[in-house]
């Protein structure tokens, strides 16, 4: 470690830590000042754009612009000839097992099981730990897998699913547990019958911390007196959960659920590192990555577009939730 270089760079880091929020605060204050200069009637229509402006600019530059570029790219083939929608025909043709359909099917598995399991465990832990005094250490332990990079998570679960022939001492935790119960060890990730489930378990394990933290924050937002009042009234814990906690947390559950669904659609790292899509586990993002490395950017772009379009039902659901919350105000 080169200490002298470190000492030279630390002031830079500090300057950035202080300076960046300062710039942004200056922006918003300055913006508000400008808005004040306008007549009263114009203020409500101009003000929002100052607040939303930087976000929209960033998103437009780094997400919207490439999406259009990608959609455009999906109309060309490997040699840069215009081929219209034929890449989409390749990806979406051959239903049910050709093209991208196996990947789509697997993404649906992820969508349903990953989301549900993470939500259920996250909610369970959030509610349970709220009632015990040692909440913080428990939450930290459940959260820990999130702090580990996905590559390390794949490594952990590789060890968990490890296989040795029957009769040999097992090196994998799960097969070792099986041998305690006098069962034969078996393949997990390399067995197409259970491979998807094995990967999803690894993914869920790594991600529950995410749901836990956010749902816990929402749970803390429920006024304590509300819960106490319900308890004094004699309501059981389950009833309190169903009638008070769950409905009040619903908007956050929708947010966490939506994020999880979208992550499930984009699932990549775990699949890439553990199977690369073999054994019937391919997912859209992995398929896209393989196409990029060929390189077949046209087809890769088509898969990306399919992914983004697949999110639309989720958006419609969100819109309905949105409107419901607005109506209640």
């Amino acid at each position: 470690m080169d200490l002298s270089q470190l000492l030279a760079d630390v002031p830079t880091l500090v300057a950035v830590i202080i300076g960046v929020p300062a710039v942004l605060a200056a922006y918003i204050v300055g913006g508000e000042y400008l808005v004040r200069l306008l007549p009263d009637k114009l203020r409500p229509s101009v003000r929002p754009w100052i607040w939303v402006g930087p976000a929209l600019a960033f998103v437009a530059a780094f997400l919207v612009y490439p999406v259009f570029g990608t959609a455009y790219r999906s109309l060309f083939d490997k040699q840069d000839n215009f081929v219209g929608l034929s890449n989409y025909a390749v990806q979406l043709g051959g239903f049910p097992s050709g093209g991208a359909w196996i990947a789509i099917r697997n993404n649906l598995y992820w969508l349903v099981f990953f989301t549900l399991l993470v939500l259920i465990f996250g909610l369970l832990f959030a509610v349970l730990t709220d009632r015990v005094p040692y909440e913080s250490p428990i939450k930290s332990l459940i959260f820990m897998p999130m702090a580990i990079s996905f590559v390390a998570i794949a490594l952990i679960w590789k060890f968990m699913y490890s296989y040795q022939p029957p009769g040999e001492p097992q090196t994998g935790t799960i097969n070792a547990v099986l041998s305690v119960f006098h069962q034969d060890p078996r393949l997990w990730v390399q067995d197409p019958n259970v491979a998807n489930q094995a990967l999803i378990v690894a993914g869920v394990w790594g991600f529950v911390g995410f749901a836990l933290v956010i749902l816990s924050a929402a749970l803390k937002g429920i006024p304590g007196d509300l819960l106490e009042a319900a308890r004094v009234d004699g309501a059981g814990e389950l009833t309190i959960f169903r009638r008070v906690i769950f409905p009040l947390m619903m908007p956050t559950i929708v947010v966490v659920g939506t994020t999880l669904v979208i992550f499930a659609l984009k699932a990549f790292d775990i699949v890439y590192v553990m199977t690369n899509g073999n054994y019937d586990t391919d997912v859209l993002a992995n398929r896209m990555y393989k196409l990029i490395t060929i390189p077949d950017t046209g087809n890769a772009a088509a898969v990306a577009v399919v992914l983004v379009v697949a999110v639309i039902p989720v958006l419609i659901f969100n819109l309905r939730q949105f409107r419901a919350v607005e109506a209640r105000r």
């Binding site: 470190l6 880091l13 830590i17 960046v20 929020p21 942004l24 204050v29 508000e32 607040w51 939303v52 930087p54 976000a55 929209l56 960033f58 998103v59 530059a61 997400l63 612009y65 999406v67 990608t70 939450k139 332990l141 959260f143 820990m144 999130m146 702090a147 580990i148 990079s149 996905f150 590559v151 390390a152 490594l155 952990i156 679960w157 968990m160 001492p169 097992q170 090196t171 935790t173 070792a176 933290v213 924050a217 929402a218 803390k220 937002g221 429920i222 304590g224 814990e237 956050t252 947010v255 939506t258 994020t259 896209m288 990555y289 983004v308 697949a310 999110v311 989720v314 958006l315 949105f322």
Partner: protein, 303 residues
């Protein structure tokens, strides 16, 4: 409260050894058992990794990690030693901070501004923009690399010229959809009466934002900081694409990934590397824990 109501009979559950009391004790035990039990099962994989990180390579493929917990103990610090000895560790550790901190601060701030506007201001196209934002969560990052890289090259935003600035901007762009989505949800949940009383008091937009909305949304902001921080801290691909893996600019993830040879030699070092890398996000998590407290809202509307 009248005096009469204080003379109510002791509730059934407070009478010792009553069925209700036993019921309560039992459910308390059940609760603790459930929490501790599930947690223990949950941490088994992490524990496995931790124990493995202290084992020599020869033992990895030949015996399960739990065998190391009984004699003969063959623990070694070798893996950690090699991680700490790896070239460029100090510099890349520092680089990770240089990348992660601004790339967390910028999107959280910008998202807070935007989320406030989305939840409490009315403007043309608000719902459309918001939904588009959520939809953009689905954009796979690999699809954005080439167009943005080209743009950066044209604008001269290369690592040689501006260091990590390009990476900060990119992470901001990538992180904004989730950040705004999350914060808008929490901001929207604040009671309307809060804003009404503030308006009556003559508070301006800035005051409401800085003095009311932000303080009341501390758990949400803390959550966001935790996630944004750890996603960028653990990021490998985006950094590799935009600033490259040369020793000068490489973050910790690149350096640690390079501990393993191209054919997988030295994979046992990844166990130690994972724990070494985990320390910082965990510290961030721990230090933000105190913001996850209930009752900030209590009493804020009355009076």
């Amino acid at each position: 409260m009248t005096i009469a109501s204080e003379q109510v009979a002791t509730p059934a559950a407070e009478r010792r050894f009553s069925p209700e009391w036993i019921g309560q004790v039992f459910s308390k035990i059940l609760l603790h058992a459930a929490v501790i039990g599930i947690t223990l099962v949950w941490i088994v994989p992490t524990l496995g990794l931790l124990v493995s990180s202290f084992r020599p390579l020869e033992d990895f493929a030949s015996s399960g990690w739990w065998t190391a917990l009984s004699p003969p103990f063959k623990f070694t610090f070798d893996n950690y030693q090699q991680v700490l000895d790896s070239s460029n560790l100090g510099n890349s550790f520092f680089n990770s901070f240089m990348i992660t901190i601004p790339a967390t601060v910028i999107p959280v701030t910008i998202a807070a501004f935007a989320a406030y506007a989305f939840s409490w201001m009315k403007f043309w196209g608000r719902d459309f923009f918001f939904l588009a934002l959520v939809g953009l969560l689905a954009v796979p990052l690999q699809a954005t690399f080439v167009p943005i890289l080209k743009l950066f090259l044209q604008l001269g935003l290369t690592p040689e010229n501006v260091g990590f600035v390009g990476l900060w901007l990119v992470h901001t762009g990538y992180g904004l959809p989730f950040a705004i989505y999350l914060l808008a949800n929490f901001f929207r949940a604040l009671p309307t009466d809060l804003f009404e009383s503030a308006e009556i008091d003559g508070a301006g937009t800035l005051t409401v934002f800085f003095r009311i909305v932000l303080p009341l949304s501390v758990p949400a902001i803390a959550s966001l900081i935790i996630f944004q921080f750890l996603w960028i801290w653990n990021d490998y691909l985006v950094a590799l694409v935009y600033v490259g893996g040369t020793p000068e600019f490489a973050p910790l993830t690149v350096t640690l990934a390079n501990l393993v040879g191209s054919l997988g030699q030295g994979y046992q070092l990844l166990t130690a590397a994972a724990f070494f890398s985990m320390i910082v996000p965990l510290i961030v998590f721990f230090s933000l824990q105190r913001y996850f407290v209930r009752g900030i809202l209590a009493g804020s509307v009355k009076g």
